[in-house]
Symmetry: C2
Subunit: 239 residues, 2 copies
């Protein structure tokens, strides 16, 4: 059953073609398949072929393909944060954590597109939450604010990771060059004026800048918390 995925499987029997299956091997192969052929490239049959096993062997390890995708998502987080430990400076630690996750996602864009928006509730995601909230609590944020700030932080990171991954993996980037570069200045003056810059920017990432702004905001926030009472939850926030 998939339920005992955490307990080491013991009774492994080689498949007809000789490979010995395991939870980790299946996840790794799935990631390889997704990053090779895109999200639709992950099919039970193809996975079986890539593993050298009957396609339905998958169901001895995972409840469904979605269960596998969740496992892949968690593995991606795990890989990204492998060996990561926060340092003294909370701001630097958070920035590093964000960059680790972001670059981890972009290293396997097609996989990230499939998984970045999922909540896995598994070991690696839990570890990430524990670390992230820990950084913020250590910085001096009260529990409630630490939770909210972590939420905003992780969504910022995963959101940019996902969009940039989608843009880089699809032929979507071509649309920017093709469609937007050809718009005439009389109907679309602003696009025409910055068409070249738009194309360049869209193929790059805005994450670094956005994260910087966010951390700037958090720093101010922290100061007002220290002076007693931040603006979170208050009616008059910056919107």
């Amino acid at each position: 059953m998939a339920a005992d995925r955490l307990a080491a499987q013991r009774r492994r029997r080689p498949t007809r073609s000789g490979t010995v299956l395991s939870y980790e091997l299946i996840v790794a192969t799935a990631i390889r398949l997704i990053d090779l052929h895109g999200g639709d490239g992950l099919s039970v049959r193809r996975l079986g072929a890539a593993l050298g096993a009957d396609p339905t062997a998958l169901y001895r390890y995972f409840r469904s393909t979605d269960d596998l995708v969740l496992a892949v998502a968690d593995e991606l987080i795990g890989k990204a944060l492998d060996g990561f430990a926060p340092g003294e400076d909370w701001r630097e630690s958070l920035a590093l954590m964000g960059r680790r996750i972001y670059t981890g996602c972009l290293a396997r864009p097609r996989t990230a597109v499939l998984t970045a928006a999922r909540v896995t509730g598994r070991v690696h995601e839990i570890r990430a939450v524990e670390i992230g909230v820990g950084i913020l609590r250590g910085a001096g944020f009260p529990d409630e604010a630490a939770a909210r700030c972590y939420h905003a932080f992780i969504d910022l990171t995963l959101g940019y990771a996902m969009l940039d991954a989608a843009a880089s993996s699809a032929g979507d980037v071509a649309a920017w060059a093709d469609v937007y570069a050809g718009l005439p200045a009389d109907t679309h003056p602003h696009i025409a004026a910055s068409a070249e810059a738009l194309g360049r920017s869209m193929s790059g990432s805005a994450y670094a800048v956005a994260l910087g702004f966010y951390l700037d905001g958090l720093t101010l926030e922290l100061e007002s918390w220290r002076k007693g009472g931040g603006r979170f939850g208050a009616a008059g926030n910056t919107l």
Copy 2:
């Protein structure tokens, strides 16, 4: 052919069951289906049934299902910005535009999950870019910076919209309550300390706060641009 989707279809023949198909009707029906049954709920056959037409009639209007999804994506943007016009204050205008898109996505979360990361290159998206870049250029940002800032802005908005939509549409929210609330304080002290707040925060949104921070950053940015030379692209940004 799907290529002439912009030219009004003239020779409309009622289907066997009496409905008269059109580009708009198909898109609207697709949105209804997706938001009812989730992303997998959109299938050619189900769409045909919902339209009261042969499933394959779809291919007279769209090249493929992906082409339809792109049309849905563009329609979602169009709906969100319907009637929107920027005002005098650039900051307020951008904030309003962001909120319009964000809430537009969350009004149809399952559709947004499917479409928010796509680049459509069609009328409504083009209009959004034109408006957004226009706001920033009007505020005083040079063309290059306006493009970059718009990129960061739209990705911020769509990223949060997508993640919040995914969280609200899946049963993922339950995971937060189930998994994270039950973690013991000795192994996961930080999660345990803010478990309740985490659950509350995860079911809400962090977009408002993040957008506020971003606009704060932009405001500072603009001031330094006015004084000659912002920090964009400079080696020593806030990361």
